[in-house]
Each structure stands twice: as structure tokens, then as C-alpha cells.
């Protein structure tokens, strides 16, 4: 359903727009099936964030194209929605107001968007926190708001840019599990950027390993661990350790 074809992106120097500063993406191609959970994994500077931002339509690629259901996309659209690394919450809006933001832009009437927002807040376990301001709740809760805001738009593809990078380890595991639970209830496709090997193996059906300079795909690794993964201790499964070792090796080489 999502196809990335020979995508390339070069960043030029800020003060000398004719001088190339970084080849962020070079000839990147892959495709994602409907309802698949794909992780983009790599060291910093490998272009994974650039890639997801191009897919989101926030920046333009220099070469190549992106197709969703066969139609090329170059700008943000209703079919895709982004969850940001630093949450991207508007600090002057309450939790409820933040979830409503996307619906408000779509011009959905007040009563209706209230109701939708409350439903999604409940889904991410934030019932009762509607009137808090972002700075009054923890980082983990803030990202739940970010997720609720993205889900409320019911996108076909959920784009997540290191969404759990800014929260502590314990909260992170909890959020991973909840994300899997929510995903299992919907038919959303997820593209998830991370630099944690464990996170990528635990969450995804497929890990796309990237490397830097120029930013490109190293290899794709299928993760054929049983689902649901939150029951039992999937991380103790020998296949988990095997995949982890294999990806680590790939990242190193």
C-alpha cells in the first residue's frame, strides 16, 4: 500500500545554498503492506528521520517518489499522520485541546470533535486528564496525548518518529505494549523510527536497517515472532536473541 521508490535527498549548507552538506538519503526503496508494522532502524545521521519526514510530506525529496495506494504523494495528507519525537504538543492547549487540534483543522464541529477526542483519550488511558496542561503531566503521558491526537484522525498509516525516545526506560516498555494493543485493534499501518534494536524487534513485523553517509538501506530483516507479544516473555524467546544479534551485526558491519 505504501511504496518508496528510489528516494534521494541532499541537504545543502545553510549559508551557501549551492554547496551540498549531507546526502541524507540515497536511492532508498521499499514497500509496506497494509496493516504491517515496520521499523526503520539505524544510527543517528542514517537518514531515518529524514525518510519518515519525506513520507509524511513535511519535506520534499530531490529524486524518487512515494506512492500510497498507487497515488504519488508530496504533501501531508489525511491518509498519513505523524507522532513526533518531542511530542509536539501545543503548550497553551489542554490535553483535550491538543487532541482536538487535528480535528479542528479538519473543520469538524465542536461537539463532535470533543466526543471523538474523549474516546481516543480513553483509548490511551488518559481519561480524567482532559483539562491538564502538557507541562502538568509526565513525558509518557504527553506522548499518549500525541498518539491520541494522531489516532483521532484515523489515518491509514501512522508515522512515528522515535516517539518513545524522550521518556524513561520503564515508561517506554509500557508504552510499547500499549501501542501494540492499540494497533492490534485497528488495521493501521505503522512506520516506526527508532535507534533501539530491542524496540524494533519487539514491535515490528520487519526491521529496515539503515546506514549513514550516504543514508541508505543496509538490509531488511523479517521478525517472525508470534503475536500478541505482550503475553508471556517474548524477549526471553531464543529467536528474539538471535534476531537481536543478527541486527547488531548488521549495524556494525
Amino acid at each position: 500500500m505504501l511504496e518508496v521508490r528510489q528516494l534521494s535527498k541532499v541537504f545543502f549548507e545553510q549559508n551557501d545554498p549551492s554547496k551540498p552538506g549531507l546526502v541524507a538519503l540515497y536511492d532508498v526503496s521499499f514497500s509496506v503492506r497494509k496493516n504491517e508494522f515496520v521499523c526503520l532502524l539505524g544510527p543517528s545521521g542514517c537518514g531515518k528521520t529524514t525518510l519518515i519526514r519525506v513520507i509524511a510530506g513535511l519535506i520534499q525529496a530531490d529524486r524518487g517518489e512515494i506512492r500510497v495506494d498507487g497515488k504519488p504523494v508530496t504533501a501531508p495528507g489525511r491518509d498519513r499522520c505523524m507522532v513526533f519525537q518531542q511530542f509536539g504538543l501545543l503548550p497553551w492547549r489542554t490535553v483535550l485541546g491538543n487532541v482536538e487540534f487535528g480535528l479542528e483543522i479538519d473543520g469538524i464541529p465542536r461537539e463532535q470533535r470533543r466526543e471523538i477526542s474523549r474516546r481516543y483519550l480513553e483509548l490511551v488511558g488518559l481519561h480524567g486528564f482532559e483539562n491538564y496542561y502538557p507541562h502538568q503531566i509526565s513525558g509518557g503521558m504527553q506522548q499518549r496525548v500525541g498518539i491520541a491526537r494522531a489516532l483521532s484522525k484515523e489515518p491509514d498509516i501512522l508515522l512515528m518518529d522515535e516517539p518513545f525516545g524522550a521518556v524513561d526506560a520503564q515508561t517506554r516498555e509500557q508504552l510499547q505494549e500499549e501501542l501494540l494493543k492499540i494497533w492490534s485493534k485497528t488495521d493501521t499501518t505503522v512506520i516506526f523510527v527508532t535507534h533501539s534494536i530491542d524496540e524494533s524487534v519487539y514491535l515490528s513485523d520487519r526491521v529496515i536497517v539503515m546506514q549513514s553517509r550516504p543514508g541508505r538501506i543496509k538490509e531488511e530483516v523479517r521478525v517472525e515472532l508470534p503475536r500478541p507479544r505482550w503475553e508471556g516473555d517474548v524477549k526471553a524467546d531464543p529467536r528474539f536473541a538471535e534476531l537481536r544479534a543478527r541486527i547488531r551485526e548488521s549495524l556494525r558491519g
Partner: protein
């Protein structure tokens, strides 16, 4: 950061044309110059058509400048203004810093003085000009007084809040090393509040300039302010712009000078901010 071989290869493959399409945002310097140039040009062209009693134009102002400078009148008045300005401002800085330190450090001094300081700070100082002229006459004394009052409060208020912000932990460090009150004042409080004091001075320099011009305009006897009134009542708009431009340049130079001075006196503050 230089590109590595693989990246160079990738660039060649991609064959991105190096020349970006023309964008105004890439040529901001040119836009600035053009904007100023066009305005001056338009002023010159249209200014000639306007009645010279109402608006002059650049070349006429340039001619008037030469004329005033050769006559020497302008320099004499400017010098008079600057002397008054320097005396009043120095007094304001000295007393402002002293009172600010005193009020910041001693609560008794704060409570005794702060009703007046807050009241006078909130009162527009220009409102005192008629009163000061009444008291001190039309000579330099009344102008020194207004410059002093205009410059005093920004310095005083900033010094005061600077001393207040000096964290108790720094003072504690001083005490732990056995410093007496004098040393704590000279080695901890003064340097730590220096950036605040300098910010106050920067404000004071501008306010005092406004103070002196207003006073001179009101008294209309000597100084640049009096020249402004004289030329405008004589409807000599070309001459009128000469002191205006001089004052604008003076304002810019003074505030840059204070900024430079600030950086020299408190260089650690800059890096601290950047961190």
C-alpha cells in the same frame, strides 16, 4: 563537514543541478540595499515636488548639513548638549548603582526608599521638565537635572534586581571562605550583578538622550533640541533634518558602545547564556 567518497559518488549519480531556482530569500542583503535605495530615491524625486515648507529631500539635507557645519553653529550647540548629557548621565550612573546596591543588599534601605523609587519610576520624567525649569531656570542646571532623573531609574532598578538575583549560594560560598561584608560586596555581589547593571546603563543612555532633547526643545534656548524648534518654526525643513540625523547616529553609536563595553566587562555572561 566534507562529503566522503560514497556521498560524492551518490551526488554525481543523482546529478542534482547545483543552481537552485532563484529565490528572494537567498538574496536578503540585496533586498535590504534595494529597499533603502528605493526609498531614498523616491524621497528625492517626490520630495522635490512637495512644498519645501513641509518636506525636504536628501540632496537638500546634504547641502544644509554642509552649510551648518561650515557656519560652526551646529557644532557649538551639539557640544553644549553633549556636555550636559555627559555630566547628568555620569551622576545618574554613580548614584543609580550606589543606591541600587544599597537597596538590594539592605532591607531597611529598601523599605525606606522603595516608595519613592517606584513612584518616580512610574511617573513620566518628562512631566517634571516644567517644574525643573521653574526651579533651576533655563541654564544647564535644569537640563542636567532632567538627564540625571531620566538615567537614574533604569540603572537603579536594574542594579537592585541584579543584586537581588545574586543567588544566596554564591554569597554562601563567600562566607564559607571567610569573606567579610566588604569582600562579599566587592568580589561577589558587584561582579555577579554586573550584567544587570550594564543592561540598566544601556537603557539609561537612551532615556537620558530623550530627556535632554525634550528639555532643550521645551526651553528652546540652547542645544540641539533648541535647534530643532528654531528650524521648525523657521520652516527650514532641510536644516531640521540635520540634528535629527545626528541624534539618530548618536543613539546608535552610544548603544553599540555600551554593548561593546558590556561584552568586555561581563564576557562570562555571554558564554553562560549560550550554554
Amino acid at each position: 563537514m566534507a562529503l566522503n567518497a560514497l556521498e560524492q559518488q551518490a551526488l554525481t549519480d543523482l546529478d542534482l543541478s547545483r543552481a537552485r531556482p532563484f529565490r528572494l530569500a537567498d538574496r536578503l542583503g540585496a533586498v535590504r540595499v534595494l529597499s533603502v535605495g528605493l526609498l531614498i530615491l523616491a524621497w528625492e524625486i517626490f520630495g522635490r515636488d512637495v512644498n519645501p515648507l513641509f518636506l525636504s529631500y536628501p540632496s537638500a539635507i546634504a547641502r544644509a548639513t554642509m552649510q551648518l557645519l561650515t557656519a560652526g553653529e551646529f557644532q557649538r550647540q551639539a557640544l553644549g548638549s553633549l556636555q550636559v548629557y555627559a555630566i547628568g548621565l555620569s551622576a545618574a550612573l554613580l548614584l543609580g548603582i550606589a543606591l541600587g546596591l544599597l537597596m538590594g543588599r539592605y532591607r531597611l534601605a529598601e523599605y525606606i526608599l522603595d516608595p519613592y523609587v517606584y513612584a518616580l519610576d512610574a511617573t513620566p520624567r518628562v512631566a517634571l521638565i516644567p517644574l525643573l525649569l521653574l526651579w533651576f531656570g533655563l541654564g544647564p542646571m535644569s537640563k542636567i537635572a532632567i538627564v540625571f532623573l531620566s538615567g537614574l531609574f533604569p540603572v537603579l532598578m536594574n542594579t537592585f534586581s541584579g543584586v537581588r538575583t545574586v543567588s544566596a549560594s554564591l554569597v554562601e560560598v563567600g562566607r564559607a571562605y571567610g569573606a567579610g561584608e566588604r569582600n562579599i560586596f566587592a568580589k561577589i555581589i558587584l561582579p555577579a550583578s554586573l550584567p544587570f547593571i550594564m543592561a540598566g546603563i544601556r537603557l539609561a543612555v537612551g532615556r537620558a538622550l530623550i530627556g535632554i532633547i525634550t528639555a532643550e526643545m521645551f526651553a528652546a534656548v540652547t542645544g540641539l533640541g533648541a535647534l530643532l524648534i528654531r528650524y521648525s518654526s523657521a520652516l527650514a525643513t532641510d536644516k531640521f533634518f540635520v540634528p535629527v540625523i545626528f541624534l539618530a547616529v548618536l543613539g546608535v553609536i552610544l548603544s553599540h558602545a555600551v554593548e561593546l563595553w558590556e561584552k568586555r566587562l561581563a564576557p562570562w555572561k555571554e558564554t553562560e547564556r549560550a550554554l
